[in-house]
Assembly symmetry: C2
Amino acid sequence: MSYWHIDYHSKYQALTFEVTEVLKSIQSPYQKIEVVETPAYGKVLLLDDDLMLTEKDEFAYHEMLVHPTMFTHSYPQKILIIGGGDCGTLTRVLQHKTVEKVVIVELDEMVTQVSQEYFPQLVSSTQDPRVELIFTDGIKYVHNCTDKFDVILVDSTDPIGPAEGLFRLSFFQDCHKILEEDGILCLQSESPWIPELAELISYVNQDLKSLFPVVKAYGAAIQTYQAGFWLFQLASKKYNPLSKEIENKIKEADLKTKYYNPNIHYGAFKLPTFVNELLHEPS
Amino acid sequence: MSYWHIDYHSKYQALTFEVTEVLKSIQSPYQKIEVVETPAYGKVLLLDDDLMLTEKDEFAYHEMLVHPTMFTHSYPQKILIIGGGDCGTLTRVLQHKTVEKVVIVELDEMVTQVSQEYFPQLVSSTQDPRVELIFTDGIKYVHNCTDKFDVILVDSTDPIGPAEGLFRLSFFQDCHKILEEDGILCLQSESPWIPELAELISYVNQDLKSLFPVVKAYGAAIQTYQAGFWLFQLASKKYNPLSKEIENKIKEADLKTKYYNPNIHYGAFKLPTFVNELLHEPS
């Protein structure tokens, strides 16, 4: 029997969509994990009732979290992914031929197990010999890590519960410490249309600017996330994501994508005035 | 007593938001017109239950319908607005100092009357002596018009019911006929995320390309419209919206905006690959 799921974007607004079948519903030590079938989006992964990814549009979020940073770095070899147990981020990282090693640190092993069953096209990437999958707390992992990385991608849930610490200065400091001298950190940073999240974007931006010489936010249209418009923040020790030579690298790599392209790489950094104001940037 | 309004974005998905008060609810000869108070968006105008504008984010849609075209034209003096009875588009057109005459053709006089009561900050623009407000069918008006315009802006409702004809080739042909030799037509053209609307975007683009030498689509993040991502199509007889000299004009005009700015002017035309595919454009 079908029903309409309600995905709250704030206390006062929500996305709602028809669910024709609950394919899986289990409780992990951390959260309720569900996969539902929907006419609008295909299969949808829900964590504690919050929409995490959909079969139809996961490409937009994952491509835009991964490719701008991977092309900004001149030669990214060692990559760390925090979160992202559905492996959509990992799948896009592995499209880059320079990659020699990817460590993916997911808190909840059952997210990956469920994803393997319902989103095998994403989780099959874990079979790549360059991948090391670790199930532990990403905050502690980064704090205790003695390795160095070229790129860190933070593919977190919303800043409530376990993911809250992934938006804090102390975590960014630890990331900075384990990045190489030309390393880049990129994180999903929520929707600027939602007042509570807009505040978060603003203070995350200030914290990143206190640590990295190059901090640039960019946006993407992701229909199933809050208000349909999502920000990412790229914090870099050396490389500028707006350098002109990146365009040719993107064209030469000729990756198979559905959202990201050479024009979007630059266009995504052009933000509306109200977002620039949150970031204390000129328009 | 509060309730949650459901604004369907397709048969299978909807935006839903809390309504704390119905401020107005009347039936015009064409449609049900309502204004409701909401914690998420302030006052909201609904036509036949479909969200038309919100106090909080109307700036995004209206600025992005108006300013890219007005700055692309070298000296826009005579402007025609089809639809837009809430006068948000008119308000932004009048920010441009070159404007000598604006004709606004709205089908439903009661939309403007209700807007005057609840969105006076927008409708006060009708007091400007340069404005002529005509209540009639925009399709017939354009068909029978003997005047010429520099810019035509189509601020229509969704392509269902009376607005359907505003997405047809015959209407675009009539617009082309009443545009000056360097005139520009710009229309809102729905969300590329929704399959039914994506089809429409594709055929509107083909029709415009059959008439105008320069046709460019651009996007904007509009949280309360379908899937939060909206396309516009700009069809121009002469001027290219990506010309470099536009940047300086925007800076010099220094309009008060909350979304549009010189970077967004160019960035908005950089579209995701799946949208370029709809438009048969390279990525």
